[in-house]
Symmetry: C2
Subunit: 166 residues, 2 copies
DNA sequence: GAATTTACGTCAGTGTTGTTGACATTCCAA
DNA sequence: TTGGAATGTCAACAACACTGACGTAAATTC
Protein backbone atom coordinates (compact mmCIF):
# COMPACT_ATOMS: atom_id res chain seq x y z
CA UNK A 1 0.00 0.00 0.00
CA UNK A 2 2.82 2.42 0.81
CA UNK A 3 5.42 3.53 -1.67
CA UNK A 4 8.45 3.66 0.56
CA UNK A 5 10.57 2.39 -2.28
CA UNK A 6 13.32 4.96 -1.96
CA UNK A 7 14.47 3.83 1.45
CA UNK A 8 14.61 5.56 4.81
CA UNK A 9 15.16 9.14 3.73
CA UNK A 10 11.89 9.24 1.80
CA UNK A 11 10.16 9.96 5.10
CA UNK A 12 11.29 13.56 4.85
CA UNK A 13 7.89 14.35 3.37
CA UNK A 14 6.33 13.52 6.74
CA UNK A 15 7.89 16.37 8.70
CA UNK A 16 5.62 18.45 10.89
CA UNK A 17 6.34 21.43 8.67
CA UNK A 18 5.22 19.57 5.57
CA UNK A 19 2.10 18.40 7.35
CA UNK A 20 1.32 21.94 8.42
CA UNK A 21 1.64 23.11 4.84
CA UNK A 22 -0.75 20.37 3.79
CA UNK A 23 -3.24 21.48 6.43
CA UNK A 24 -3.11 25.06 5.26
CA UNK A 25 -3.35 23.98 1.64
CA UNK A 26 -6.60 22.22 2.49
CA UNK A 27 -7.90 25.29 4.23
CA UNK A 28 -7.12 27.77 1.47
CA UNK A 29 -8.03 25.43 -1.38
CA UNK A 30 -11.39 24.61 0.15
CA UNK A 31 -12.18 28.29 0.25
CA UNK A 32 -11.49 28.56 -3.45
CA UNK A 33 -13.35 25.35 -4.09
CA UNK A 34 -16.60 26.71 -2.63
CA UNK A 35 -16.33 30.33 -3.69
CA UNK A 36 -17.74 30.07 -7.22
CA UNK A 37 -20.95 28.25 -6.28
CA UNK A 38 -21.30 30.52 -3.27
CA UNK A 39 -21.29 33.52 -5.56
CA UNK A 40 -24.09 32.02 -7.64
CA UNK A 41 -26.12 31.05 -4.59
CA UNK A 42 -26.00 34.44 -2.94
CA UNK A 43 -28.91 36.48 -4.18
CA UNK A 44 -30.99 33.40 -4.73
CA UNK A 45 -32.39 32.24 -1.42
CA UNK A 46 -30.07 29.26 -1.28
CA UNK A 47 -26.86 28.33 0.46
CA UNK A 48 -24.27 25.62 0.48
CA UNK A 49 -26.64 23.14 2.03
CA UNK A 50 -28.97 23.46 -0.94
CA UNK A 51 -26.05 23.06 -3.29
CA UNK A 52 -25.00 19.83 -1.64
CA UNK A 53 -28.50 18.40 -1.71
CA UNK A 54 -28.95 19.25 -5.37
CA UNK A 55 -25.54 17.83 -6.20
CA UNK A 56 -26.18 14.45 -4.64
CA UNK A 57 -29.72 14.15 -5.95
CA UNK A 58 -28.33 14.80 -9.40
CA UNK A 59 -25.60 12.24 -8.86
CA UNK A 60 -28.04 9.60 -7.66
CA UNK A 61 -31.50 10.26 -9.05
CA UNK A 62 -34.17 8.47 -7.06
CA UNK A 63 -32.10 8.39 -3.88
CA UNK A 64 -34.11 8.36 -0.68
CA UNK A 65 -34.12 10.89 2.11
CA UNK A 66 -32.37 8.38 4.31
CA UNK A 67 -29.59 7.85 1.82
CA UNK A 68 -29.13 11.57 1.52
CA UNK A 69 -28.92 11.91 5.29
CA UNK A 70 -26.13 9.36 5.38
CA UNK A 71 -24.20 10.99 2.56
CA UNK A 72 -24.53 14.54 3.85
CA UNK A 73 -23.99 13.63 7.48
CA UNK A 74 -26.57 16.01 8.93
CA UNK A 75 -29.73 15.58 10.94
CA UNK A 76 -33.04 14.97 9.24
CA UNK A 77 -34.38 18.22 10.66
CA UNK A 78 -31.60 20.12 9.02
CA UNK A 79 -31.99 18.34 5.71
CA UNK A 80 -35.74 18.67 5.87
CA UNK A 81 -35.58 22.43 6.02
CA UNK A 82 -33.45 22.42 2.89
CA UNK A 83 -35.58 19.91 1.00
CA UNK A 84 -38.76 21.77 1.85
CA UNK A 85 -37.40 24.91 0.24
CA UNK A 86 -36.38 22.93 -2.84
CA UNK A 87 -39.82 21.31 -3.05
CA UNK A 88 -41.63 24.61 -2.62
CA UNK A 89 -39.59 26.22 -5.34
CA UNK A 90 -40.10 23.30 -7.68
CA UNK A 91 -36.45 22.28 -7.96
CA UNK A 92 -36.84 18.81 -6.48
CA UNK A 93 -39.72 16.37 -6.48
CA UNK A 94 -40.33 13.39 -4.24
CA UNK A 95 -42.03 10.22 -5.39
CA UNK A 96 -43.38 7.67 -2.95
CA UNK A 97 -41.49 4.39 -3.20
CA UNK A 98 -43.15 1.51 -5.03
CA UNK A 99 -41.59 -1.27 -2.99
CA UNK A 100 -41.56 0.63 0.29
CA UNK A 101 -44.14 3.35 0.38
CA UNK A 102 -42.51 5.05 3.36
CA UNK A 103 -39.53 6.06 1.32
CA UNK A 104 -39.45 9.21 -0.76
CA UNK A 105 -37.36 9.00 -3.88
CA UNK A 106 -35.87 12.33 -4.86
CA UNK A 107 -35.52 13.70 -8.38
CA UNK A 108 -34.47 17.03 -9.83
CA UNK A 109 -37.04 18.83 -11.94
CA UNK A 110 -35.90 20.58 -15.10
CA UNK A 111 -35.58 23.74 -13.06
CA UNK A 112 -33.53 21.92 -10.43
CA UNK A 113 -31.31 20.37 -13.06
CA UNK A 114 -30.69 23.82 -14.49
CA UNK A 115 -29.49 25.14 -11.15
CA UNK A 116 -27.36 22.07 -10.60
CA UNK A 117 -25.75 22.59 -13.97
CA UNK A 118 -25.01 26.24 -13.27
CA UNK A 119 -23.42 25.39 -9.94
CA UNK A 120 -21.41 22.42 -11.09
CA UNK A 121 -20.29 24.17 -14.26
CA UNK A 122 -18.74 26.87 -12.11
CA UNK A 123 -17.13 24.40 -9.75
CA UNK A 124 -15.90 22.16 -12.54
CA UNK A 125 -14.38 25.10 -14.36
CA UNK A 126 -12.11 25.81 -11.43
CA UNK A 127 -11.36 22.13 -10.99
CA UNK A 128 -10.56 21.75 -14.65
CA UNK A 129 -8.19 24.69 -14.60
CA UNK A 130 -6.42 23.31 -11.56
CA UNK A 131 -6.21 19.82 -13.05
CA UNK A 132 -4.90 21.14 -16.32
CA UNK A 133 -2.27 23.27 -14.62
CA UNK A 134 -1.15 20.42 -12.38
CA UNK A 135 -1.19 17.59 -14.89
CA UNK A 136 -2.44 14.00 -14.73
CA UNK A 137 0.23 12.65 -12.39
CA UNK A 138 -0.48 15.33 -9.81
CA UNK A 139 -4.20 14.73 -10.15
CA UNK A 140 -3.72 11.07 -9.41
CA UNK A 141 -1.80 11.96 -6.26
CA UNK A 142 -4.41 14.52 -5.27
CA UNK A 143 -7.16 11.93 -5.40
CA UNK A 144 -5.08 9.34 -3.58
CA UNK A 145 -4.28 11.61 -0.65
CA UNK A 146 -7.83 12.91 -0.33
CA UNK A 147 -9.17 9.39 -0.31
CA UNK A 148 -6.74 8.41 2.41
CA UNK A 149 -7.86 11.39 4.45
CA UNK A 150 -11.53 10.37 4.57
CA UNK A 151 -13.16 8.49 7.39
CA UNK A 152 -13.87 4.89 6.39
CA UNK A 153 -17.59 5.52 6.11
CA UNK A 154 -17.09 8.64 4.04
CA UNK A 155 -14.73 6.66 1.83
CA UNK A 156 -17.44 4.10 1.28
CA UNK A 157 -19.86 6.83 0.25
CA UNK A 158 -17.25 8.20 -2.09
CA UNK A 159 -16.29 4.92 -3.70
CA UNK A 160 -19.79 3.54 -3.72
CA UNK A 161 -20.60 5.27 -6.97
CA UNK A 162 -17.47 4.67 -8.98
CA UNK A 163 -19.37 2.38 -11.33
CA UNK A 164 -22.91 2.00 -9.98
CA UNK A 165 -24.93 4.53 -11.93
CA UNK A 166 -28.05 4.45 -9.78
CA UNK B 1 2.92 25.08 -17.20
CA UNK B 2 1.08 21.99 -18.45
CA UNK B 3 2.46 18.49 -18.59
CA UNK B 4 0.78 17.31 -21.76
CA UNK B 5 3.80 15.27 -22.62
CA UNK B 6 1.98 12.07 -23.46
CA UNK B 7 0.11 13.54 -26.39
CA UNK B 8 -3.55 14.11 -27.02
CA UNK B 9 -5.00 11.25 -25.04
CA UNK B 10 -3.60 12.56 -21.76
CA UNK B 11 -6.61 14.87 -21.56
CA UNK B 12 -8.78 11.96 -20.51
CA UNK B 13 -8.16 13.04 -16.91
CA UNK B 14 -10.20 16.17 -17.62
CA UNK B 15 -13.55 14.44 -18.25
CA UNK B 16 -16.59 15.78 -16.42
CA UNK B 17 -16.83 12.49 -14.58
CA UNK B 18 -13.28 12.80 -13.30
CA UNK B 19 -13.91 16.37 -12.27
CA UNK B 20 -17.05 15.34 -10.41
CA UNK B 21 -15.07 12.71 -8.54
CA UNK B 22 -12.53 15.35 -7.61
CA UNK B 23 -15.28 17.61 -6.33
CA UNK B 24 -16.73 14.89 -4.15
CA UNK B 25 -13.29 13.90 -2.95
CA UNK B 26 -12.80 17.46 -1.71
CA UNK B 27 -16.16 17.38 0.03
CA UNK B 28 -15.65 14.09 1.83
CA UNK B 29 -11.99 14.64 2.61
CA UNK B 30 -12.66 18.06 4.11
CA UNK B 31 -15.14 16.48 6.47
CA UNK B 32 -12.50 14.04 7.66
CA UNK B 33 -9.95 16.82 7.79
CA UNK B 34 -11.97 18.85 10.29
CA UNK B 35 -13.54 16.04 12.29
CA UNK B 36 -10.72 15.37 14.76
CA UNK B 37 -10.26 18.98 15.92
CA UNK B 38 -14.03 19.37 15.99
CA UNK B 39 -14.26 16.49 18.42
CA UNK B 40 -11.74 18.15 20.72
CA UNK B 41 -13.43 21.54 20.49
CA UNK B 42 -16.89 20.30 21.32
CA UNK B 43 -17.34 20.39 25.05
CA UNK B 44 -14.94 23.28 25.36
CA UNK B 45 -16.72 26.46 24.44
CA UNK B 46 -14.82 26.76 21.18
CA UNK B 47 -15.49 26.05 17.55
CA UNK B 48 -13.72 25.96 14.24
CA UNK B 49 -13.33 29.70 14.17
CA UNK B 50 -11.28 29.59 17.37
CA UNK B 51 -9.20 26.77 15.96
CA UNK B 52 -8.35 28.77 12.88
CA UNK B 53 -7.40 31.84 14.89
CA UNK B 54 -5.19 29.84 17.21
CA UNK B 55 -3.59 28.05 14.29
CA UNK B 56 -2.58 31.20 12.47
CA UNK B 57 -1.45 33.03 15.59
CA UNK B 58 0.78 30.05 16.32
CA UNK B 59 2.08 30.05 12.77
CA UNK B 60 2.84 33.75 12.83
CA UNK B 61 3.44 34.93 16.40
CA UNK B 62 3.06 38.68 16.71
CA UNK B 63 0.74 38.92 13.73
CA UNK B 64 -1.66 41.84 13.87
CA UNK B 65 -5.43 41.77 13.92
CA UNK B 66 -5.45 43.17 10.40
CA UNK B 67 -3.20 40.41 9.11
CA UNK B 68 -5.39 37.81 10.69
CA UNK B 69 -8.46 39.35 9.07
CA UNK B 70 -6.80 39.06 5.66
CA UNK B 71 -5.74 35.47 6.18
CA UNK B 72 -9.02 34.24 7.59
CA UNK B 73 -11.16 36.21 5.17
CA UNK B 74 -13.84 37.18 7.67
CA UNK B 75 -15.16 40.48 8.98
CA UNK B 76 -13.58 42.18 11.95
CA UNK B 77 -16.81 41.79 13.90
CA UNK B 78 -16.70 38.06 13.40
CA UNK B 79 -13.04 37.78 14.31
CA UNK B 80 -13.48 40.09 17.27
CA UNK B 81 -16.02 37.80 18.87
CA UNK B 82 -13.57 34.93 18.61
CA UNK B 83 -10.55 36.87 19.85
CA UNK B 84 -12.46 38.29 22.81
CA UNK B 85 -13.24 34.77 23.99
CA UNK B 86 -9.60 33.77 23.59
CA UNK B 87 -8.43 36.83 25.51
CA UNK B 88 -10.93 36.29 28.31
CA UNK B 89 -9.88 32.68 28.70
CA UNK B 90 -6.22 33.58 28.67
CA UNK B 91 -5.28 31.68 25.52
CA UNK B 92 -4.15 34.68 23.51
CA UNK B 93 -2.60 37.97 24.52
CA UNK B 94 -2.36 41.21 22.58
CA UNK B 95 0.56 43.60 22.84
CA UNK B 96 0.40 47.16 21.58
CA UNK B 97 2.76 47.71 18.68
CA UNK B 98 6.04 49.53 19.34
CA UNK B 99 6.38 51.13 15.93
CA UNK B 100 2.66 51.63 15.39
CA UNK B 101 0.70 51.84 18.61
CA UNK B 102 -2.59 51.30 16.83
CA UNK B 103 -1.68 47.72 16.02
CA UNK B 104 -2.23 44.82 18.38
CA UNK B 105 0.26 42.00 18.04
CA UNK B 106 -1.14 38.63 18.95
CA UNK B 107 0.61 35.85 20.83
CA UNK B 108 -0.44 32.53 22.26
CA UNK B 109 -0.01 32.10 26.00
CA UNK B 110 1.25 28.78 27.35
CA UNK B 111 -2.35 27.75 27.76
CA UNK B 112 -3.14 28.77 24.19
CA UNK B 113 -0.10 26.95 22.88
CA UNK B 114 -1.26 23.83 24.69
CA UNK B 115 -4.64 23.94 22.99
CA UNK B 116 -3.03 24.61 19.65
CA UNK B 117 -0.80 21.60 20.11
CA UNK B 118 -3.70 19.36 21.03
CA UNK B 119 -5.65 20.46 17.97
CA UNK B 120 -2.82 20.31 15.49
CA UNK B 121 -1.55 17.00 16.85
CA UNK B 122 -4.92 15.50 16.07
CA UNK B 123 -5.07 17.06 12.63
CA UNK B 124 -1.49 16.19 11.81
CA UNK B 125 -2.00 12.58 12.86
CA UNK B 126 -4.66 12.15 10.21
CA UNK B 127 -2.59 14.02 7.66
CA UNK B 128 0.46 11.93 8.44
CA UNK B 129 -1.49 8.70 8.04
CA UNK B 130 -2.86 9.86 4.71
CA UNK B 131 0.55 11.02 3.50
CA UNK B 132 2.19 7.79 4.56
CA UNK B 133 -0.46 5.69 2.86
CA UNK B 134 -0.29 7.72 -0.34
CA UNK B 135 3.47 8.17 -0.61
CA UNK B 136 5.66 11.16 -1.48
CA UNK B 137 4.79 11.34 -5.15
CA UNK B 138 1.09 11.49 -4.44
CA UNK B 139 1.68 14.11 -1.74
CA UNK B 140 3.52 16.27 -4.23
CA UNK B 141 0.57 16.05 -6.59
CA UNK B 142 -1.88 16.73 -3.80
CA UNK B 143 -0.13 19.97 -2.92
CA UNK B 144 0.20 21.00 -6.54
CA UNK B 145 -3.50 20.60 -7.31
CA UNK B 146 -4.63 22.31 -4.11
CA UNK B 147 -2.38 25.23 -4.82
CA UNK B 148 -3.77 25.54 -8.33
CA UNK B 149 -7.27 25.53 -6.89
CA UNK B 150 -6.74 28.57 -4.67
CA UNK B 151 -7.67 32.11 -5.55
CA UNK B 152 -4.58 34.16 -6.34
CA UNK B 153 -4.83 36.08 -3.09
CA UNK B 154 -5.26 32.94 -1.03
CA UNK B 155 -2.28 31.47 -2.84
CA UNK B 156 -0.23 34.44 -1.79
CA UNK B 157 -1.25 33.93 1.82
CA UNK B 158 -0.34 30.29 1.52
CA UNK B 159 3.02 30.78 -0.10
CA UNK B 160 3.92 33.84 1.90
CA UNK B 161 5.30 31.75 4.71
CA UNK B 162 7.20 29.06 2.88
CA UNK B 163 10.46 30.39 4.23
CA UNK B 164 9.71 33.55 6.22
CA UNK B 165 9.55 32.38 9.80
CA UNK B 166 7.97 35.49 11.29
C1' DG C 1 -1.48 72.31 13.63
C1' DA C 2 -5.75 70.70 11.49
C1' DA C 3 -7.83 67.30 8.70
C1' DT C 4 -7.91 62.79 7.06
C1' DT C 5 -6.96 58.02 7.14
C1' DT C 6 -5.83 53.74 9.42
C1' DA C 7 -6.33 50.09 12.95
C1' DC C 8 -9.09 48.44 16.09
C1' DG C 9 -13.20 47.71 19.07
C1' DT C 10 -18.15 47.44 19.88
C1' DC C 11 -23.31 47.48 19.64
C1' DA C 12 -27.31 45.89 17.29
C1' DG C 13 -29.64 43.17 14.02
C1' DT C 14 -29.97 39.34 10.66
C1' DG C 15 -29.30 34.91 8.03
C1' DT C 16 -27.61 30.14 7.17
C1' DT C 17 -26.76 25.95 8.86
C1' DG C 18 -26.21 22.99 12.12
C1' DT C 19 -27.95 20.86 16.75
C1' DT C 20 -31.70 18.39 20.52
C1' DG C 21 -35.95 17.02 21.90
C1' DA C 22 -40.58 15.73 21.24
C1' DC C 23 -44.31 13.96 18.69
C1' DA C 24 -47.21 12.11 14.66
C1' DT C 25 -47.81 9.23 10.63
C1' DT C 26 -47.18 5.52 7.69
C1' DC C 27 -45.92 1.07 6.77
C1' DC C 28 -42.95 -3.18 6.87
C1' DA C 29 -42.10 -7.32 9.40
C1' DA C 30 -42.26 -10.65 13.06
C1' DT D 1 -51.29 -6.98 16.24
C1' DT D 2 -47.45 -4.92 17.85
C1' DG D 3 -42.80 -3.18 17.45
C1' DG D 4 -39.71 -0.68 14.98
C1' DA D 5 -38.10 1.76 10.84
C1' DA D 6 -38.62 5.79 7.62
C1' DT D 7 -40.28 10.07 7.30
C1' DG D 8 -42.14 14.72 8.43
C1' DT D 9 -42.73 18.62 11.50
C1' DC D 10 -42.70 21.91 15.45
C1' DA D 11 -39.95 24.49 18.72
C1' DA D 12 -35.85 26.14 20.73
C1' DC D 13 -31.15 27.00 20.48
C1' DA D 14 -26.04 27.67 19.18
C1' DA D 15 -22.08 28.71 16.14
C1' DC D 16 -20.58 31.58 12.88
C1' DA D 17 -20.90 34.35 9.33
C1' DC D 18 -22.83 39.00 7.55
C1' DT D 19 -24.12 44.41 7.31
C1' DG D 20 -24.42 48.91 9.19
C1' DA D 21 -23.23 52.37 12.36
C1' DC D 22 -20.47 54.51 15.69
C1' DG D 23 -16.32 55.51 18.65
C1' DT D 24 -11.35 56.01 19.83
C1' DA D 25 -6.68 56.48 19.32
C1' DA D 26 -2.76 56.96 16.57
C1' DA D 27 -0.47 57.79 12.30
C1' DT D 28 -0.17 60.40 8.14
C1' DT D 29 -0.98 64.07 5.08
C1' DC D 30 -1.72 68.65 3.82
Amino acid sequence: MAENSTGGESLLFLTDENLRKGIEAMFFAYRGFTSDPDRILEGLDYGRAHHRAVHFINRSPGTTVGNLLAVLGVTKQSLNRVLRALFDDGLVEARVGRADKRERHLYLTDKGAALERALSDAQRARMRAAYRAAGPVAVQGFRTVLEAMMDPEQRRQYQGLKESGA
